[in-house]
Symmetry: D2
Subunit: 148 residues, 4 copies
């Protein structure tokens, strides 16, 4: 896979955390060809009724980070759409942060497939809390915007 | 399926919108045995970089509402955990609100399965934007809290 | 959705049961635009070690029937590929036949999404045994064959 | 994870290939704690209408092999049921054999989660053709048989 230019990396890092992702305070940590890593520091508003981190935070992170792992492999005139994803929750998460690592396992011209692993970062240890498989589609930017 | 008591309905309605769900401003609309309907009015912070509603909002809503559809079928000493879910995005959503309808399609003593449909509510029309299948587990409340 | 021609229906019915599907003895029952229904009479070789019908039979049927539901909506120069599917097993199946009903819930020019319901047909009753969501892709026939 | 006894390995190897799995000629290759590897030599009856190996063969193999990976971790009085699985097809498979490697990524007392990778074995190379995530449930044998 080709190296990403510093400009493209900077663009993806800035583009990553807009709208709902900014609202959730999920941030990019590392960007490589076919790979994206992100983090969120956990506050009360990320938790659910029992004090565990809400599954929706993990799902949002797994989906969005997978999308940006796909973004590292397409040209600048293309956008990435999530067609579907599936996420398994392996154990309840209740740490101080989540970290998500997404990598592309199939890089096609139209369909890309990513795996996202969401880690629960606690003081004593870090453990895999959720794992997702995400099916993504690369579409010309012009076509996507016409759907609005 | 037995009728839900008004007290149980009131409890579930209040319990539904805490933590991350309150932060996302997702609200309960209707509660019946094996069924839960919710809504969110869309603001800028629910959207993604292109103006569409973020897939994470739909996924969070689909998961959480499915969980509360399951809650309507278990006794008060039990909690509901999401084991996994899968969500397909049928078309980009960009309306003023989302509505989610979750119903239980398998009501087991341990494993419950729900389907959630997320509708994009636009001025001119309402259309199905996403559909999820959610696998849930009913666990004794005491057991769950011991995991924290 | 347009009516299917009798010739197209006959072609799809014959094309449906070749190779592995013929080996599994799964047969078409009903074909409409965006809909396909199939059946298999259960013999010992469809069961697993405990006498239940093997999950693989249900998954095969759910996938293949979904694919042919998609086939009813594309032109004759196109093929259908399964990108992914997810199947939930609602209860063990042990009847004399399975019936599968697949319908398209999203009909796009590239991506189609189907739902398949697999019913366990027993003497006393018929009940839903499995439900699948299938993501399909319509590709030009010429392109697919070049991958061989 | 504890070592498996030779007797338990021999039992699982024999138990693996009964009913539908025997009919599909899928065979065990390697058994370890939390891991199972299987193979099928491809004949005409494993293919679909275009000569590719049918997705149903890969799904059956991914599910069944995941189940036996789970079997390596439970006591002899328990059975394994598939609750659900999701499988992504990465590229069309058309080789002379398929090999499946399943490993448990969450070993719980009730819920186990496995990943299965299905490889397309061609003369020139072996490549990943499909990847599945399988949610399994460990149940007392006596309870399962009562459902029949």
């Amino acid at each position: 896979m080709p190296e990403l230019s510093p400009e493209r990396k900077a663009f993806l890092a800035a583009d990553y955390c807009r709208g709902f992702i900014r609202y959730c305070r999920i941030e990019p940590l590392e960007i490589k060809s076919g790979y994206f890593r992100s983090r969120v520091l956990i506050a009360e508003e990320h938790r659910q009724q029992d004090g565990f981190i809400h599954a929706g935070v993990m799902a949002t992170m797994a989906d969005h980070t997978a999308g940006y792992a796909a973004f590292t492999l397409v040209t600048e005139d293309r956008q990435i759409l999530t067609i579907e994803f599936k996420i398994n929750f392996l154990r309840p998460a209740f740490g101080n942060a989540l970290e998500c690592r997404s990598k592309i396992i199939r890089d096609g011209s139209t369909i890309l497939i990513a795996e996202s692993e969401v880690f629960d970062v606690r003081e004593e240890e870090t453990s895999l809390a959720a794992k997702a498989t995400v099916t993504l589609m690369s579409v010309p930017k012009a076509k996507l915007l016409s759907k609005r």
